[in-house]
C-alpha cells in the first residue's frame, strides 16, 4: 500500500460515488420507466461498491443479492408489463415537489447531525452498544449481533414480514370457477385397473 494505495482507493470511491449519484438522478429524470429501473440497478451496484470500499463485504454482497437480484427484477417485471402513461404521471410533479423536498431536507439534516457528531466527538463511536470486534470478519460480527444479541427483534421482524406476505396472498388470490387444476397426487394415485377397462367388441356392433 502506501500513497498509491490510498490514491487508488480514493479514485475508486469517487468513481463509485459519482456513478451512484448520477444514476440516482437519472432514475427520476429518465423518460422511459424501464431505463429508470436499469439506472436504479446501476445505483444499487455502485452502493455495493462503496460498501466493499468500507470493508463491509457481506453487506455489499447481500445488497446485490437482495436488491439487484430479487427486488429490482420484480420492479422490472411490473414496469415492463404495465402500460404507464408517463406524461400523466409527470403532471403531478409540481404537486408532490414540496413534500418530496421536505423529506429530502429531513434526511439531509439527519446526515449532517451524524457527520457533525462524528467530527466533534470521534470517540463517541467507541461507546456504541456493540462495537465491532477487531479479529472477526464482518460476517461473523453481523451474525453475532443479529442472531445472538438481537434475536427477539430479528424474530419479530420476521413475523411482521410473514404477516405481510400472507396478507398480500389473501388480497390477491382468488379461486376462479372453471379452472382445471392439475393434482399430481391424484394422478399418481390412479391405477390402471380403475381407469382402463378392456372389453371385447364384437365386429360391427360397437359398445
Amino acid at each position: 500500500m502506501g500513497t498509491i494505495g490510498t490514491l487508488l482507493q480514493a479514485l475508486a470511491f469517487y468513481m463509485f460515488a459519482f456513478v451512484a449519484v448520477a444514476s440516482a438522478v437519472m432514475v427520476i429524470s429518465a423518460r422511459n420507466p424501464v431505463h429508470s429501473v436499469l439506472f436504479l440497478i446501476l445505483a444499487f451496484f455502485n452502493s455495493a461498491g462503496l460498501f466493499v470500499l468500507m470493508g463491509a463485504e457481506f453487506l455489499a454482497m447481500i445488497l446485490v443479492v437482495v436488491y439487484v437480484g430479487a427486488v429490482a427484477v420484480l420492479f422490472m417485471f411490473v414496469v415492463m408489463m404495465l402500460d404507464i402513461n408517463f406524461v400523466e404521471l409527470r403532471q403531478g410533479f409540481l404537486q408532490y415537489l414540496p413534500i418530496g423536498g421536505l423529506i429530502g431536507l429531513v434526511l439531509l439534516a439527519e446526515l449532517l447531525v451524524i457527520l457533525g457528531g462524528w467530527a466533534f466527538a470521534p470517540e463517541a463511536t467507541g461507546s456504541v452498544a456493540a462495537p465491532t470486534p477487531d479479529a472477526t470478519t464482518n460476517t461473523h460480527a453481523l451474525g453475532e449481533l443479529i442472531y445472538t444479541h438481537y434475536v427477539y427483534l430479528f424474530q419479530s421482524a420476521g413475523m411482521v414480514l410473514l404477516v405481510a406476505m400472507i396478507g398480500a396472498i389473501i388480497l390477491t388470490h382468488r379461486n376462479r370457477a372453471g379452472v382445471r387444476r392439475q393434482s399430481i397426487s391424484k394422478q399418481l394415485a390412479r391405477r390402471a385397473e380403475k381407469t382402463v377397462e378392456v372389453r371385447k367388441v364384437p365386429t360391427g356392433k360397437g359398445i
Partner: protein, 338 residues
C-alpha cells in the same frame, strides 16, 4: 518511479496476466463444450455428430466462431438501441466475472475473498438481467414472452439454490470457496448431503435455462425465445455467455459437493494428478450429465416447472436447513469458526 512500478504497474499487469490466463481457457472450454455436446448427443442418438471440419470434426467450433464473426449484426428498427446492444454484453461479462473467485487449486485463485460463495450467488442472480433486457429491447412478442418466462424461472429456482448453499455453509463454517473445498478433505459433501446435491444440480439446470427447463427458448412455440432478434456477434455473445454459465454452474457444483480440486481418495496414483486436472474432470463430468439430461428428458410444462420450484424444492431445501442445523447442533458437530 520505482514505487510507481512496484506499487501500481507491476501488480496491475500481473492481475491482467492472471485474468487472461483464466479467460482464454474458459473460452476454449466453451468452444469445445459445443463440440462435446454435439458429439455426445450424436452418440446417444446413434449419429456421428460433427465430423467434416478437421480430424474428427475437431475444428468445427472454430469454423462456427468464424462464421458468426463474419456475419452482419442486424439491429431491428423498432428496437431500443442502447439496451439492445448492452444486453448480450451483460450476459457475457457476468458469465466471465464469476470466475474471479473460483479456486482451481490450493491458493490458485484470482481473488480469494471472504464472501466468495455470496459473490458467486450474487453474480448468478444477475444473469437474469441480460435476458430481461434483451427480451424487452427487441420489441418483439416472442422475445418478450421468452424473457418473462426465463426471468420468473431463474428467480424461482434461485430461492431453493440459496437454501441448499446454506446447508453446505452450515457444514463448513465459512463463506470462502477455498475453505469450502478444504472442508471436504475427509468426505465430499455429495455423500452426507446427497439429496441436496441432486436438488442443487436440478436447480442449476433451471438456472441456466437448459433442458428439460429450456422453456425460454422453446423453439416449437417461441421460435427461439429472448434471442430471436439477435444475429451474428450479438447472438454469439449470448451463446458464449450461456455456455460459460453452464461451465460455471458445473464448477459451483464441483466446489460445493464434489470436493473442488481434491482427488477422490488421497492415495498415490490419485494425488500425483495436479488439482486443476481433477477440477476440470469434475466439471466435465457435471457437463456430461447436463448433456445427457438434454438427450433424455422431454421439456417441462411451464406450470409444472413452477410447481417443482416452489412446492417441491423450496419446502425440501427449507426443511433441510433446519434438519442439517439440528443434527450439527445435537451431535456437537458444528464447525469451528476459523
Amino acid at each position: 518511479m520505482a514505487e510507481l512500478w512496484d506499487g501500481l504497474i507491476w501488480p496491475t499487469a500481473w492481475i491482467v496476466i492472471k485474468i487472461v490466463g483464466i479467460v482464454i481457457p474458459v473460452m476454449l472450454f466453451v468452444a469445445y463444450l459445443t463440440y462435446f455436446e454435439r458429439k455426445v448427443i450424436g452418440a446417444i442418438h446413434l449419429r456421428k455428430g460433427p465430423n467434416v471440419v478437421g480430424p474428427f470434426g475437431l475444428l468445427q467450433p472454430i469454423a462456427d466462431g468464424i462464421k458468426l464473426f463474419l456475419k452482419e449484426t442486424i439491429i431491428p428498427a423498432s428496437a431500443n438501441r442502447g439496451v439492445f446492444i448492452i444486453a448480450p454484453c451483460v450476459t457475457f461479462i457476468l458469465a466471465l466475472v464469476a470466475w474471479a473467485v473460483i479456486p482451481f487449486d490450493h491458493g490458485m485463485v484470482l481473488a480469494d475473498i471472504n464472501v466468495g460463495i455470496l459473490f458467486l450467488f450474487a453474480i448468478s442472480s444477475l444473469g437474469v438481467y441480460g435476458i430481461l433486457m434483451a427480451g424487452w429491447a427487441s420489441n418483439s412478442r416472442y422475445a418478450f414472452l421468452g424473457a418473462l418466462r426465463s426471468a420468473a424461472q431463474m428467480v424461482s429456482y434461485e430461492v431453493s439454490m440459496g437454501f441448499i448453499i446454506i446447508t453446505v455453509l452450515l457444514c463448513v463454517g465459512s463463506l470462502n470457496l477455498s475453505d469450502i473445498v478444504m472442508a471436504q478433505k475427509n468426505i465430499w459433501f455429495v455423500v452426507p448431503l446427497f439429496p441436496m446435491a441432486v436438488i442443487f444440480f436440478v436447480s442449476t439446470l433451471a438456472e441456466t435455462n437448459r433442458h428439460p427447463f429450456d422453456l425460454p427458448e422453446a423453439e416449437a412455440e417461441l421460435v427461439a425465445g429472448y434471442n430471436v432478434e439477435y444475429s451474428a456477434m450479438t447472438f454469439a455473445l449470448f451463446f458464449l455467455g450461456e455456455y460459460a454459465n453452464m461451465i460455471l454452474m458445473a464448477g459451483m457444483t464441483s466446489v460445493l459437493f464434489l470436493g473442488g480440486w481434491l482427488p477422490p481418495i488421497d492415495v498415490l496414483p490419485f494425488n500425483w494428478v495436479p488439482g486443476p486436472v481433477w477440477f476440470a474432470l469434475k466439471i466435465a463430468f457435471c457437463l456430461f450429465i447436463f448433456i445427457w439430461v438434454r438427450a433424455t428428458f422431454p421439456r417441462y410444462r411451464y406450470d409444472q416447472l413452477m410447481r417443482l420450484g416452489w412446492k417441491v424444492f423450496l419446502p425440501i431445501s427449507l426443511a433441510a436447513v433446519a434438519i442439517v442445523a439440528g443434527i450439527l447442533v445435537a451431535f456437537d458437530l458444528t464447525p469451528v469458526m476459523g
